[in-house]
């Protein structure tokens, strides 16, 4: 009995941690959705959701109830199993990647040696939710939208991969915590003689890559201005055309969790993760999770502003941007970074 308990205990702990993270993540997602709509509304001088609960704070939960209580409609000619699996896949994959994101030092459910590669692998799988959903609907519109969306996601994954490689060259490890710890020293400490501060983070020395990563992250998650696969006003949500109720909710949820994941990834790679902006005692005293979430929110705010301000791209321009602009620049920057590191002898051990 004792032995079985000893054996089961880690399983229970991991299960509990995952559940806690999942609940926190979903509530966070609900309010991110609310923030997205509020920011969008404020830019357009509207009031946004303001009816359900004080200041409309419960709007997302009302939406959830609405989705869950609606009747699920599955088209008669759809491939039913694939039709149902597709949204589940896309939601599960988006959440699975969160297992390796460190919210504070050592605060990841799985502290993998290859953390960043794990996230990259998971996000390369996310395209299947889209393709399967579009194909299983057995509708021309959904299918064409799925092809568009898949082409877009695959294109921008390439430049995201190169950006990640540039950061890894500077760090010398694929562990999430190592990437963040490597940002404790950098430009500010070496050249300005300051203590550890926000000038040490990767956004400064790798500024072009930071911008490319930010734009690619928006394109990868099909956010406006790159939301061509699903342009709500014209294409009625692209590959999700035939979906309704809970299945649609899962697609929607997966998409938003993936967006927050991209914010977290930007934070880890370029904005110093859970590091405080200055290395002083009262900022160090505030837990790292606070800084992590704050930086994520900043990145998300930038994404929401981009959505509200920038007009939508045309599809051929989108593809041109991915393949003819970002890919050569990021490939070139990998060479340059490796060269600089080699010549100056800053290569990480």
């Amino acid at each position: 009995m004792e032995a079985i308990f000893e054996y089961l205990w880690p399983v229970i702990v991991v299960f509990g941690q995952s559940l806690l993270l999942l609940v926190a993540l979903l509530i966070f997602t609900a309010y991110i959705l609310y923030a997205d709509r509020k920011i969008f509304a404020a830019v357009q001088m509207r009031r946004g959701p303001n009816v359900v609960g004080p200041w409309g704070l419960l709007q997302s939960f009302a939406d959830l109830l609405k989705f869950v209580l609606k009747e699920p409609v599955i088209p008669a000619s759809a491939s039913k199993t694939v039709f149902v699996i597709a949204p589940i896949l896309s939601a599960v994959l988006a959440m699975a990647a969160w297992a390796v994101i460190p919210l504070d030092q050592g605060w990841a459910i799985a502290d993998l040696n290859l953390g960043i590669l794990f996230v990259f692998a998971i996000s390369s799988l996310e395209v299947y939710g889209v393709i399967m959903g579009g194909w299983a609907s057995n509708s021309k519109y959904a299918f064409l939208a799925a092809l568009r969306s898949a082409a877009q996601m695959v294109s921008y994954e390439v430049s995201i991969g190169f950006v990640i490689i540039t950061v890894l060259l500077c760090v010398g490890s694929l562990r999430m915590d190592d990437i963040i710890i490597a940002q404790q020293t950098g430009f500010g400490t070496h050249y300005l003689g300051m203590g550890s501060s926000f000038l040490d983070w990767h956004w400064l020395p790798l500024f072009p890559m930071f911008i490319i990563f930010f734009i690619s992250a928006i394109a990868e998650t099909n956010r406006p201005p790159f939301d061509l696969p699903e342009a709500e006003s014209e294409l009625v949500a692209g590959h999700m055309v035939e979906y309704s109720s809970t299945l649609f909710l899962l697609f929607f949820l997966g998409e938003f969790v993936a967006i927050i994941l991209m914010c977290a990834l930007t934070t880890v790679l370029f904005l110093g993760g859970w590091l405080p902006p200055f290395d002083v005692w009262f900022l160090n005293w505030i837990p790292g999770t606070f800084w992590f979430v704050l930086k994520m929110l900043l990145v998300f705010f930038a994404m929401a502003m981009v959505r509200a301000v920038v007009p939508r791209y045309r599809y051929d321009q989108l593809m041109r941007l991915g393949w003819k602009v970002f890919l050569p620049i990021s490939l070139f920057m990998v060479f340059i970074t490796a060269l600089v590191l080699q010549i100056t002898g800053w290569v990480a051990a």
Partner: protein, 204 residues
């Protein structure tokens, strides 16, 4: 230890079952989806045996890129399943013959497989030890030193394949109006806007 055994049987069981479904399912798209499931489970087996880099690479390269192209092609095919099934009996003998030959050859290889005497004690243990060095470093140390020549040759072959594919498919149609990005970006109000004083009642 029991957990890893349990996971091993789960991964390999699902992998074998989905591999079987790849060849037996009637819809080719379902076949590809089962193939992807088999890949994912194979990567689970890789990770279990300590080769986490290979496992994740299998997902990124095969599942994330190659299988997506597979799926695209198969979805675009307009396959008539009834017609596909018609010649089944006609092709059965030759298919069975090829299958049996491959099976016999595989059996001969497996039966005649002898571990080299020097490595006899260490086959179960990867070299260098997983606990000493991360396997991404171990791979890099070998790939970029001992096998750099083969690595570069592989890169050249891929480059030639890519150039070849582009040359074969690139067509410049003369009648298509294309957007010239530099002229587009180079436009400013001076060149793009013209102020005209239109006399009333006359038009331009």
């Amino acid at each position: 230890m029991t957990a890893s055994i349990l996971f091993f049987y789960m991964f390999s069981g699902i992998m074998l079952a989905s591999a079987f479904m790849v060849i037996s399912s009637r819809n080719p798209v379902h076949s590809v989806l089962f193939l992807i499931l088999a890949f994912v489970n194979a990567s689970g087996l890789f990770i279990m045996s300590g080769a986490e880099f290979l496992g994740l690479l299998l997902i990124v390269v095969y599942v994330g890129a190659v299988a997506v192209l597979f799926l695209f092609v198969v979805m675009m095919l307009d396959v008539d399943f009834v017609e596909l099934r018609e010649g089944f009996l006609q092709y059965l003998p030759i298919g069975a013959l090829v299958g049996i030959i491959v099976l016999v050859e595989l059996l001969m290889v497996v039966a005649g497989w002898v571990a080299a005497p020097l490595t006899a004690g260490s086959t179960a243990q990867p070299i260098p030890d997983v606990n000493e060095i991360r396997n991404i470093e171990a791979l890099g140390n070998i790939l970029y030193t001992d096998h750099i020549f083969f690595f570069q040759i592989a890169g050249m072959i891929l480059l030639v394949a890519m150039v070849g594919a582009i040359v074969l498919t690139l067509r410049h149609k003369p009648n298509v109006r294309r957007q010239d990005i530099t002229t587009q970006v180079g436009r400013d109000p001076k060149t793009a806007i013209q102020n005209v004083n239109v006399e009333s009642g006359k038009g331009l």
